[in-house]
Amino acid sequence: MWLPSYATPGERAGRIAVLVFVVAVLAFLVAPLFVVVPLSFSNDPFFTFPVPKYSMRWYEDFFAGNRWTDGVLNSFLTASLTTVLATVLGTMASLGITRPDFPWRKPVMALLISPMIVPIVIVAVGGYLFFGRLGLTNTRLGLVLAHTALAVPFVVITVTATLSTYDANLTRAAQSLGATPLVVFFRVTLPSILPGVASGAVFAFATSFDEVVVALFLTGAEQRTLPVQMFSGIRDQINPTIMAAASMLLVFSTALFLAVGWLSNRSRAAK
């Protein structure tokens, strides 16, 4: 039980108790995620276990009309635009912040991180009032701008973390050999921090793809995203099509998770 040889019997018993507790907590963490999967394949419109008969009817329902597939398309489009904007802005800012001469680093960092901290409803209501005045509510642009603000902290955190292990002498060497700043960035810096930038991009994508509250306040039927569709579905009339949507989202987020795990292994291998 991962104890030293001098452990007392009481210690061993205590360790087993802790281990049982930890296994229970881990089960509490993971088990609820998978409850949606069998239900999505159920034939029954009610959420009963064990599943009486398996079928694909809720998946067929999901892909039958435009209601859900439009949501998926809107989510992908919004999240992709957000990812591009957040990754470019966040990576540039990270390059500046990690330089030793950067002024006012602490307050700037506190501001860049604050979209993670400010309650989402405040961002949503503020956006609703402010973008409303600019005529940006019920537009994709407004949603992308708001999502980018929310996604930027994730890019900044991952890219600054990667840059903290980057050897600035590489930049100096390239400069001394006559490379312009842009060439230095694209041919020296970017290749070595690419895994960090890519995980930042995945985080940004996931942030936008999963966001409900701001989308609820800023969008109309035209830009309705998948999470908004799910939220209204659960609130009004929960049905197994939502289970099908949730199961597919679960597969998708697991894929994103594995992608980031692979990227962080690569960046560790690169060191």
Binding site: V22, M92, A146, I157, F231, A246
Partner: protein
């Protein structure tokens, strides 16, 4: 003397020389800073402004408010005030702004909406004096100095009304502050509930998460990797998927009730969904990884040899843990606990879907006042209260932990 002067000159020269580099470094962050100021800071500033903004009275009845300036606040206002009000309400009736004005005054004086609307209708239908008698004939309350005191204090385009209301205070006609009637003191209850739920969730995640973080540091790497997967996978799973799962689990004929019945813990199905228990359970599940990860990263940096040294010097297993190990994990507990507390304060989706009417948090009421009641001022004022509490705790976090310590995965 000369050397001090020389030193200062050199320091200035060094700063001068460093300026281009500072400017270059800052200019890289500038686009993002400008972007955030426009898309994130400006909306929040507008929210703060909306919480004190009072445009309706000055827009609809400016001359009445000007005439009221000379009013002594004790007797009934003179005819000129009523005449100005009649003229402006008649115009408002045509512009369809009378109802807006009535709604605004109705927040502070019950019954004002219908009083203003019917007065406006009267003023437009028959614009002849004497106005005071006609207003009083319509509703004797128009003669009340208390009503006119409220109108007069709204002459400014800013008002403390919404912010006071958001903390269950009101301004009396004489200007003094008073708590609102006991049955209307809702917002402090909601704020208290939000803090209580956030505190409960923080406490539960610490109790559940601390042993997990500890086991993560001592388990062999293969086991630890699987454990880490169990911690990170929920973090990556869509918030809505997790909330959907809890909706299904907690249903009256759901899995948890099935299990409780089968194990004989209860003889009837319990109300788990739309309850405080369900809200706290789902929020604890969602926040647990946020608490575990900072604790884990601090524990990882504590050398295991310290515990061995303590044991070899004669400390028992419990006392070596309490005296040597636990104190060193406090920074991680602080970081994890504060992050979970801050994030729990802003929960909206989970209480909306899993909680009952008595479990709705400040965020849910902000949304209700925006969408259902169209009371932007009160919604913004509640936002200001929530933001103030959150920023206060964020500042504690920055002071104790630091923004650069935030890590993902």
């Amino acid at each position: 003397m000369d050397t001090t002067l020389e030193k200062i000159k050199i320091l200035i020269a060094v700063r001068e020389a460093a300026r281009p580099a500072r400017r270059a470094a800052f200019s890289l962050a500038l686009p993002l800073l400008v972007f955030l100021i426009v898309t994130f800071v400006a909306p929040i500033v507008l929210l703060l402004f909306t919480a004190v903004n009072n445009p309706e009275p000055q827009a609809v009845i400016p001359q009445t408010l000007a005439a009221l300036e000379r009013w002594d606040g004790k007797a009934m206002p003179e005819e000129a005030v009523f005449a100005a009000l009649a003229k402006e309400l008649a115009q408002a009736q045509q512009d369809r702004t009378a109802a807006l004005l009535g709604k605004r005054f109705n927040y502070e004086v019950p019954g004002m909406r219908s009083r203003v609307v019917s007065a406006a209708r009267m003023a437009l239908a028959n614009p002849t004096g004497p106005y005071r008698e006609r207003f009083l004939a319509l509703d004797a309350e128009w003669g009340s100095p208390a009503l006119w005191a409220v109108v007069k204090r709204n002459a400014g385009t800013l008002t403390p009304y919404y912010l006071l209301n958001a903390i269950d205070l009101q301004q009396e006609p004489d200007g003094s502050l008073q708590r609102v009637e006991a049955d209307q003191r809702v917002f402090m209850t909601i704020l208290g509930r939000t803090l209580f739920v956030a505190f409960t969730v923080t406490f539960l995640t610490l109790v559940l998460g601390y042993p997990v973080a500890y086991m993560l540091t001592i388990a062999p790497s293969g086991v630890a990797r699987i454990m880490m997967l169990c911690v990170l996978l929920p973090l990556w799973t869509s918030l809505l998927v997790r909330t959907t799962a809890w909706v299904v689990l907690l249903q009256t004929d759901g899995v948890i009730n099935d299990a409780l019945l089968a194990l004989g813990f209860t003889d009837h199905r319990l109300q788990l969904i739309f309850s405080r228990f369900g809200t706290v359970a789902a929020m604890t599940h969602i926040q647990l990884p946020f608490t575990i990860l900072p604790i884990y990263s601090v524990m990882k940096s504590i050398p295991p040899t310290q515990l061995r040294a303590a044991r070899s010097l004669g400390a028992g297993p419990l006392s070596s843990f309490w005296k040597i190990y636990a104190p060193q994990t406090v920074p991680g507990v602080m970081a994890g606990g504060l992050i979970t507390f801050i994030l729990s304060l802003g929960y909206y989706i989970t209480p909306a879907l899993v909680g009952g009417p008595g479990d709705q948090m400040v965020s849910n009421f902000i949304s209700i006042y925006i969408n259902r009641d169209l009371n932007w001022g009160l919604a913004s004022a509640l936002g200001v209260i929530l933001l103030t509490v959150t920023i206060a705790i964020y500042l504690v976090f920055l002071r104790l932990v630091g923004a650069e310590k935030l890590r993902m995965g």
